[in-house]
């Protein structure tokens, strides 16, 4: 267990030094009004550079990461993050640009944005993108504001968004943030939508339906075209949550399925590392008839020169300062260029093969509510374990003991004791076999020695943590 910064602080120590002043030093008290000045110094720690380095390095070792452990987090698509992406994004000519430099001095950066937009259009089958949204959820929010602006421009009052009960929690939260009312739609037991049930909730005040394809149970919506027809016939829009695009690269495209708006989680499908939960990027793509509503500015090209176009009178506005999470965009572009058309298709094929392979082994041991086929991820139910008082949570914690980051648990909400596994394409067969064997061993333990699971993990820096206590008596800083 690592001490806190505050606990290793020693009066007078420091890690960084401020350069000697080469201009006359001004005493803030002499040149600024006293009432503007700080009276109490902030309690910043005092630590030598060597100790500070050790502190954070030791903390890094208390972490599971992709570089140290298999990370089968369903829906999060934790695939291998190639170091070359990181290296490229840190090239001085990309990392040290000011957003308000003149366009003449940013031609390389604007070219990257322009080309990335074009590539994303090709990959998803959409006509235009905004790269501005900083994460998937901000992309959802942006997409829904576009839907709102579109109906406003047509003077149609549409106040509702249909969200299946299987959707990610950000979907309804984003719709609410955008000022819509949410109509929850019940999916079938395998997570699939029934077009007849979609029609039942399609009233003339519905602006859009938000779908994740493959759905959150890892299954392709086989009736998607029927759903699309009904939605469009109702004058509503089709919104695609692109968090699961890793299953479809080069195979299928949301644009071809009839979606009008989508966001893509670049930090997932396009392998950009998102340390401890970000930064990500959630570009929003639309069909032509919605392009005018995208956030400004967009990157355009005229006679071999790239420029930022602010002249977008119908735009919903900005959702983030400047031009988005630029380094993440650079990394995603690098990944697309490295992969090429063939490579991207191979990604999805292998992601789907790997997931089905694991399902073919684990699906024999635990119930899989969506059946024996999946796309790039699948959901099992740990309900049978509860006979011995063991919960999915315990299974997850026991996996940590064996050196695996646990899969996503208790999501989607529609599956009891859900456990959602996404191996991704970058894991080898040997790695999958080893994981499967461990998983099965834990299922045996659940029968023979349930206490072992309930008392896990034991091989991690800390044992089971008391989340109830944390919420009841919040300690949120030192």
């Amino acid at each position: 267990m690592e001490k806190l910064l505050k606990e290793i602080s020693v009066d007078g120590y420091k890690a960084y030094s401020v350069p000697e002043a080469d201009v006359p030093i001004k005493d803030p008290g002499k040149i600024l009004e006293d009432k503007l000045l700080r009276k109490k110094q902030p309690g910043l720690p005092e630590i030598s550079e060597a100790e500070l380095n050790r502190h954070f390095t030791r903390l890094s070792k208390e972490n599971y990461a992709l570089s140290t452990n298999f990370y089968p987090l369903g829906s999060c698509t934790m695939k291998y993050n190639p170091p070359v992406n990181e290296k490229i994004s840190k090239l001085s000519g990309l990392a040290n640009l000011h957003p308000y430099q003149s366009e003449d001095t940013l031609q390389g950066a604007l070219e990257i944005l322009f080309e990335l937009e074009k590539n994303l259009c090709e990959i998803t089958g959409m006509d235009a993108f905004s790269l501005q949204p900083a994460a998937g959820a901000q992309g959802e929010f942006t997409g829904l504001l576009i839907a709102r602006a579109y109906f406003n421009s047509k003077k149609e009052k549409r106040t509702k968004i249909i969200v299946p009960d299987s959707a990610h929690g950000t979907n309804p939260a984003s719709a609410a943030l955008a000022g819509f009312e949410i109509v929850s739609l019940k999916s079938e037991s395998n997570g699939i939508l029934n077009p007849a049930k979609v029609k039942e909730v399609l009233t003339n005040d519905v602006a859009a339906i938000m779908l994740t394809v493959p759905n959150t149970l890892g299954v392709f919506e086989k009736d998607i075209l029927a759903v699309e027809e009904a939605v469009h016939k109702n004058g509503s829009l089709m919104y695609y949550d692109g968090a699961n695009l890793n299953a479809l690269l080069g195979v299928s495209r949301p644009g071809n399925m009839g979606f009008d708006i989508l966001h893509v989680n670049l930090h997932k499908t396009f392998s950009t590392p998102h340390g401890g939960g970000g930064p990500g990027a959630g570009p929003v793509g639309v069909k032509k008839f919605l392009a005018d509503f995208l956030p400004y500015p967009s990157v355009k090209k005229s006679s071999e020169k790239y420029f930022l176009n602010y002249n977008m009178p119908k735009s919903i506005g900005r959702v983030r300062s400047f031009y988005g999470n630029f380094p993440v965009l650079v990394k995603a572009y690098a990944y697309i260029l490295a992969s090429g058309a063939e490579g991207l298709k191979r990604v999805s094929e292998q992601a789907v093969i790997n997931a089905n392979y694991l399902l073919s082994i684990l699906g024999k041991k635990l119930n899989s509510p969506a059946g024996n086929r999946c796309m790039h991820e699948f959901v099992l139910s740990g309900k049978d374990l509860t006979l011995n008082g063991v919960r999915t949570l315990d299974l997850a914690k026991r996996l940590l003991d064996y050196g695996y980051y646990a899969p996503t648990i208790y999501f989607p909400l529609i599956v009891e004791e859900a456990i959602m596994i996404e191996p991704t394409e970058t894991e080898t067969k040997a790695a999958l076999d080893e994981f499967a064997q461990t998983f099965i061993k834990i299922l045996e333990e659940a029968k023979t020695d349930p206490e072992k699971l309930k008392n896990s993990p034991q091989n991690t820096p800390v044992t089971r943590l008391n989340e109830v206590e944390a919420a009841r008596k919040p300690i949120l800083h030192w």
Binding site: I88, N96, A137, H274, P279, G280, G317, P327, L337, E425
Partner: protein, 445 residues
């Protein structure tokens, strides 16, 4: 190049276990109409080709390492201690995800807890969250907190707020019926007289940036007092580097404080390496959006950390969630954490003072030049200031660029009324020599 390794034998075994004969069988549920026959993208590149392609692209830009920058306006060049990159580059931090499994993520969780602690120290407020996308969206979220917690529907926003923050704020609120009024300027500061006239009991919050977009320091305390007693929230937007010397937002009576964290150990990155920080009073903790890390104990009584107060969050409350934030800017905030940990209070004050002194020096030298004068009579600024000039601004800028200087921002771009006004930024990254060279060129213009 791709990142997959599998051989034919392995593939065969996997297909046989699944019960298919080829990959296509796994995609047979997809209707033909939804399929694509190959993407129209070039062939993949080897790592060597890839790096060289990006070196060429990077070479088409002129970076701040090739120029001396006097431009700020929301993104600032500061020196970044080597330790920051060393830590954020560690793959154990870089390639981890949101710490859903606390026992396997203590490193990330503790650094977020340390980060939250440092932000509360700096801002003088009670609680901080684990980071937001950027300063602008953090402000929009703060405005939403004020609307939700007061039940009121009017916002008073200083005209000296960063224009892009204002744009983002407007976008965020367009789905809700909110009345946004801007408070006019008095010189380079928010007009307190106008604020008093605009203020009424329907006001959910007053939003003030300090130092503001023009570099001027605002008297937050006075603004808070002017409007009391009324149940509104004061939301301040601050530059954290200035807090080494300036009164903390908490001391000055802010209820919520937000800002852009890029200045804390992150490069300029074309405005891409951002993180929004947010802190607030205890009473608002349950209303704050985003992730929060809390301290607790394990089964052996040892200290540990978990994501907490989750009942505010989207995965539980869904359509009632107080925000939709999931992926945030954790890695950039980690840079902020490492950056803030190494100066000590004295060092940080010194750093802040150095910014103040350098910009003062530049200001005093520039206003001595014929054709350049201070735009405002009140000289309470931090590391940015506005100069009015009679010179041809286009010529001036291109002359500076020829001499490898990124000149000041032309305010007219955002504020048509500020014609011929230039916003200069001078941080500790500029030497006296850089400043003197700037001054010499301005003299020749």
């Amino acid at each position: 190049m791709d990142y997959i390794s599998i051989n034919d034998q392995e593939k065969k075994e996997m297909f046989s276990s699944i019960g298919v004969s080829k990959a296509e069988d796994l995609f047979s549920v997809i209707p033909e109409k939804a399929k694509v026959k190959g993407l129209n993208l070039p062939k993949g590149l080897s790592e060597q080709e890839l790096v060289s392609k990006f070196e060429i692209l990077a070479g088409k830009n002129i970076s701040l390492k090739q120029m001396k920058s006097f431009r700020g306006a929301g993104i600032y060049e500061h020196f970044i201690p080597s330790l920051v990159d060393e830590i954020t580059g560690r793959s154990e931090f870089l390639t981890a995800y949101t710490p859903y499994q606390a026992e396997a993520s203590q490193g990330t969780l503790q650094t977020i807890f340390e980060y939250q602690s440092l932000i509360t120290q700096l801002t003088g407020l009670d609680v901080a969250n684990a980071s937001m996308y950027d300063g602008a969206s953090a402000l929009a979220e703060a405005a939403l907190v004020s609307i939700r917690s007061t039940g009121k529907k009017k916002l008073l926003v200083s005209s000296a707020l960063h224009p892009e923050y204002f744009q983002v704020l407007k976008t965020y609120l367009q789905g809700l019926a909110i009345d946004i009024k801007t408070i006019p300027l008095d010189g380079g500061n928010t007009s307190t007289k106008d604020l008093k006239n605009l203020f009424d009991p329907d006001t959910a919050s007053v939003i003030i940036q300090s130092p503001n977009f023009f570099g001027q320091i605002e008297d937050l305390e006075e603004i808070k007092k002017l409007c009391e007693p009324a149940g509104f929230l004061l939301i301040s937007v601050v530059n954290p580097i200035s807090l080494g010397i300036l009164k903390s937002p908490g001391e000055a009576g802010s209820d919520i404080c937000v800002g852009e964290g890029q200045v804390l150990g992150n490069p300029s990155g074309m405005g891409g390496f951002t993180f929004g920080f947010m802190s607030c009073k205890q009473s608002l903790a349950w209303k704050m959006p985003g992730r929060i890390v809390g301290q607790t104990t394990d089964t052996k009584g040892r200290r540990g950390f978990v994501l907490t107060l989750q009942s505010r969050e989207q995965h539980i409350r869904r359509e009632k969630a107080t925000s939709n934030i999931c992926t945030n800017s954790a890695l950039n905030a980690l840079a902020g954490c490492v950056y803030l940990s190494g100066w000590g209070p004295e060092g940080f004050k010194k750093l802040s003072t150095l910014n103040l002194s350098k910009s003062r020096y530049a200001f005093e030298e520039i206003i001595k030049i014929k054709g350049f004068s201070a735009a405002f009579s009140n000289h309470n600024f931090f590391n940015e200031f506005v100069i009015k000039t009679t010179k041809d601004v286009n010529k001036l800028q291109s002359k500076l660029l020829d001499e490898k200087i990124l000149g000041p921002l032309e305010l007219e771009k955002f504020f048509p009324e500020f014609k011929n006004c230039l916003l200069f930024c001078v941080t500790e990254a500029r030497t006296k020599k850089d400043i003197d060279k700037l001054v010499d060129i301005l003299k020749e213009c």
